[in-house]
């Protein structure tokens, strides 16, 4: 059993000022997940008549992307390729002091405590992160062959869980890894080609409008990503945007369909 000292960011709501609150945790089991440790704290706070700490979480198996907090300066905590829900307390040792903060970015305003609003990501997808295909209009699946390497590369990018750790980790709060993962996922597939260049322009414009910073190639996003998505997708995004900007024929197509 471990003792820990926690400093947790508490903020009543988006419009109010927040600050750190200190909690002493005793009897932390190494087998607990990080969120279970917070559950235990919350039960205690509830029993004491105070407000429990709000944090987003859902599947608790590292795939839904809901959870995420910055633990001692690292999004999702110290363990590589691991979401906060899959981080276990054995990654810490007795007597550790933990600073727990929400994702901090202009585009991710705090809603309460450790809960932030990541709807900016949805709006980036809304801008073009899809392949337009009506239900029922798809051709026989094997009529379009996809080379295995392309399918694998698309999958590597498609693994993104939209948790926002890339933004949280980036010194510029840039969303480039997130955006590039979707552009690269769809751009690697033959089905994604018709909308490829219109897609990248629209998504990048939305990304910028949301208030994310630009990429200055620090690679912090890649290091923080629980799915280990590579920054090579960012290079691809840059390449696609350059080509999209320079091929004006694309523009006509966009305006026709709009």
């Amino acid at each position: 059993m471990m003792r820990l000292k926690l400093h947790v960011w508490r903020q009543k709501s988006g419009g109010t000022q927040g600050s750190f609150a200190d909690y002493d945790m005793t009897d932390v089991s190494a087998d607990m997940s990080f969120l279970e440790m917070l559950d235990v704290l919350n039960e205690k706070l509830t029993a004491d008549g105070s407000d429990p700490i709000a944090f987003d979480h859902d599947c608790r198996e590292g795939i839904c992307g809901a959870c995420g907090m910055v633990v001692n300066g690292e999004p999702h905590g110290p363990r590589k390729a691991t979401t906060t829900c899959q981080l276990h307390m054995r990654s810490f040792k007795d007597g550790d002091e933990l600073w727990i903060e929400p994702w901090r970015a202009e585009a991710f305003p705090v809603i309460k405590d450790l809960v932030v609003d990541r709807s900016a990501f949805d709006r980036v997808i809304q801008a073009g992160g899809y392949i337009s295909v009506r239900s029922g209009s798809a051709p026989e699946a094997n009529s379009t062959l996809v080379p295995k390497l392309d399918a694998d590369a698309a999958f590597d990018a498609a693994q993104c869980i939209g948790c926002g750790a890339c933004v949280a980790a980036c010194p510029n709060a840039s969303a480039m890894l997130f955006v590039s993962a979707k552009v690269s996922h769809l751009g690697h597939l033959p089905q994604g080609q018709p909308e490829r260049y219109a897609r990248v322009r629209k998504m990048v414009a939305q990304m910028d409008a949301e208030g994310f910073g630009g990429c200055t190639n620090h690679k912090e996003c890649e290091a923080a990503c629980p799915k280990e998505i590579s920054i090579s997708h960012i290079a691809r995004l840059n390449r696609d945007l350059l080509k999209a900007q320079l091929t004006a024929a694309e523009e006509k197509k966009v305006s026709e369909s709009a």
Binding site: P52, T82, R90, G129, S135, P147, G162
Partner: protein
């Protein structure tokens, strides 16, 4: 209420039924579609796909989810794959075979017409998803790859590494956002449905709470689709996401919709065992592990505390291989699960609390080499190590069964409409296609079938036949529902007792798991039925919910969900008690063959049990939909 259960399933040659039914359905004039409002609650595979498809057709759709984004719906966690009768492998698969396997796998408790349609549509789903850009596994030739899954004799499962659910959900999510961009769907994330509005006997709206501002309001529509998932979290510990709940379905049930077969719950045998009281959920590991792992426990109780490596081969009991020599470690999920429970009940379970059995890869590593084992199961081994801190290459894994999926749900007819006109139910939230047990890789198939290919037709069919009067939030029924919801929220906040919602949930979950889990009997169910109302009473007297209703209040959200589980659990136990047979995921210890196999009673129980709500603490009324099997004739299974 006089309820006639009409399945509305078409008759005639089974392979023609869906085709014929689609032709017989009424169509909404394209110009009129935009005049109809449709509400979709839930944004997983069924809800997301339905909302996107209906938006695409031209309806005005509002879609609600409790998560911060529709991309987080729990469909995302499905690992294994999705079945489709493509027969790409030329190994004898067909729509008919998938239909046959599903009816048989459901232990003859599903509607044949529904199942056939599911099998038929399965092939379109793969086409649709591939076109959306779902990165399915491929062969070097570029063709789609398949694997055999969950003991199927044919390779019909399509997959995207171990993240098939995620990829399919993202496909639906992207299609949904395209419709949102086009203005056809309006999305309401962080919004929870707390009640349903019925006007003139028809479903006309829902009451929702904005989980950030706490604002409670009515949303009106011409049809309501619930795609709100299963109720596995009634057991507290399950492989479901923490937020999964029965509230939407239960609120619909309380307003007249029948709840069918709640006792059909599925257990998954290969989950990571509980490590302590702090445990908040259980993590599933792919069943494929049983292909190479050997399940055992010590022969003697005295050995359970010893390091597994120090237990001699002769002192180990490879109980599955011993009892089922021809299937060994690959027996079906329910058999593997029950046997694990039995050895633990005998006191031979390993790990914390004695609730675990070993899944040993030592032989596989010896036979294939560590590299080959890593190649096959590397990801799973890493996940296991991350959670338990033990290295499964060196120490045998510990596994234990956990609640994974619920086959029961709101009763629906062939059109996926409940007995309340205008209320449709899709995906895990309905009871329709899996009978008493679900085949592996069939949940994703059903969710997407309902969402992309069934609801878009049947909702239109309903709307085309109705003369719907305009309704708004000032309708008396809406005001009443709003008031009821407000009262309930205020009540939860004002009890100011001493126990948290979680503590009640844990207690309820343990009770359900002990008495209505892997194996059930009349005595235990009777005890549960006595204890649940007591716990419910205590809940309403001694609950503590900190904070207010006018803010993001996760304690309040939990409390509302637990309140409904406390009512639902009673129905589940009651259903389990009335079904005096064993079938699929429902195992009554009194009803088993001499070999310990589930013993169905087709004479008496070949029906869907659809329950009608009569009030808290009032006995619900049982309605029966008789099941006929024209094509697949009931047989008893044997895995000896």
């Amino acid at each position: 209420m006089d309820i006639q259960l009409k399945s509305n399933a078409p008759t005639g040659e089974i392979s023609q039924r869906w085709e014929k039914h689609r032709f017989d359905m009424k169509l909404v004039n394209p110009a009129n579609k935009r005049k109809y409002n449709v509400i979709v609650v839930g944004s997983g595979l069924a809800g997301g796909a339905a909302a996107a498809s209906l938006g695409e057709l031209g309806y005005n759709v509002k879609c609600f989810c409790y998560q911060d984004s529709p991309r987080r719906a729990h469909s995302i966690a499905a690992q294994g794959g999705i079945n489709a009768a493509k027969n790409y492998q030329n190994d004898g698969d067909s729509i008919y075979r998938l239909f046959y396997d599903t009816v048989k796998g459901g232990d003859f408790r599903a509607r044949e017409s529904n199942v056939f349609r599911l099998a038929e549509i399965s092939v379109n789903i793969i086409d649709q998803c591939a076109a959306q850009g779902v990165p399915f596994a491929r062969e070097y030739s570029g063709h789609l790859a398949n694997r055999s899954f969950g003991g199927a004799q044919v390779s019909r499962t399509f997959y995207a590494r171990g993240q098939t659910g995620q990829q399919l959900l993202l496909g639906a999510y992207q299609a949904l956002w395209k419709q949102i961009a086009d203005g056809k769907v309006k999305m309401y994330p962080r919004t929870e449905m707390l009640d349903r509005v019925v006007v003139n006997g028809r479903a006309r709206g829902i009451i929702v709470r904005d989980m950030v501002s706490g604002k409670i309001e009515a949303q009106m529509a011409d049809a309501v689709i619930l795609a709100t998932g299963g109720y596995g979290n009634v057991f507290y510990l399950s492989t479901n996401a923490k937020g999964c709940n029965v509230m939407a379905a239960w609120r619909a049930h309380r307003r007249g919709a029948l709840f069918a077969n709640p006792c059909y719950t599925q257990i998954h045998p290969t989950c990571i065992p509980v490590s302590g009281d702090h445990q908040s959920k259980l993590t599933l590991m792919s069943e494929s592990l049983r292909n190479d792992g050997r399940v055992w426990v010590p022969k003697r109780k005295e050995d359970v505390g010893k390091a597994p490596g120090s237990i001699a081969e002769a002192d180990r009991d490879y109980y599955l291989e011993r009892k089922y020599p021809s299937f060994g470690n690959l027996v079906p999920r329910d058999i593997a699960s029950r046997n694990a429970k039995d050895v633990c009940d005998e006191g031979r379970g390993v790990g914390p609390g004695g609730l675990g059995v070993y899944l040993d890869f030592a032989d596989a590593i010896k036979r294939l080499g560590e590299a080959a084992v890593a190649e096959r199961y590397g990801n799973l081994f890493d996940m296991y190590e991350r959670i338990t801190g033990e290295n499964p290459y060196k120490v045998p894994m510990r596994i234990f069964p956990a609640i994974h999926y619920t086959m029961g749900g709101l009763w629906v007819d062939y059109n996926l409409m409940s007995n309340v006109p205008g209320l449709f139910v899709g995906g895990e939230a309905n009871f329709s296609d899996h009978g008493a047990n679900r085949l592996g890789a069939s949940a994703l198939m059903q969710g997407l079938a309902d969402g992309y290919f069934v609801l878009p037709y049947t909702v239109g069919h309903y709307l085309a036949q109705q003369k719907l009067e305009p309704v708004d939030a000032n309708t008396a029924e809406t005001k009443a529902a709003l008031a009821a919801v407000n009262d309930r929220v205020n009540k939860l906040l004002s009890i100011k007792g001493t126990r948290s919602a979680d503590s009640f949930h844990k207690e309820l979950g343990k009770l359900c798991w002990d008495k209505c889990g892997m194996a059930r009997d009349a005595t235990g169910l009777g005890e549960a039925l006595k204890r649940i109302p007591e716990l419910r009473d205590e809940f309403w007297k001694n609950l503590r919910v900190p904070g207010t209703g006018a803010e993001l209040n996760q304690s309040l959200e939990k409390a509302g969900r637990v309140a409904d589980f406390l009512e639902f659990a009673e129905l589940m136990c009651l259903d389990a008690l009335q079904r005096e047979e064993s079938c699929g995921g429902h195992f009554r210890t009194e009803f088993q063959t001499e070999e310990g196999e589930a013993k169905r009673d087709d004479e008496k129980f070949s029906y869907v049990a659809a329950w009608e709500w009569k009030g808290v603490g009032e006995p619900p009324v049982l309605h029966k939909e008789h099941l006929d099997f024209e094509y697949v004739h009931p047989s008893q299974r044997s895995y000896k």
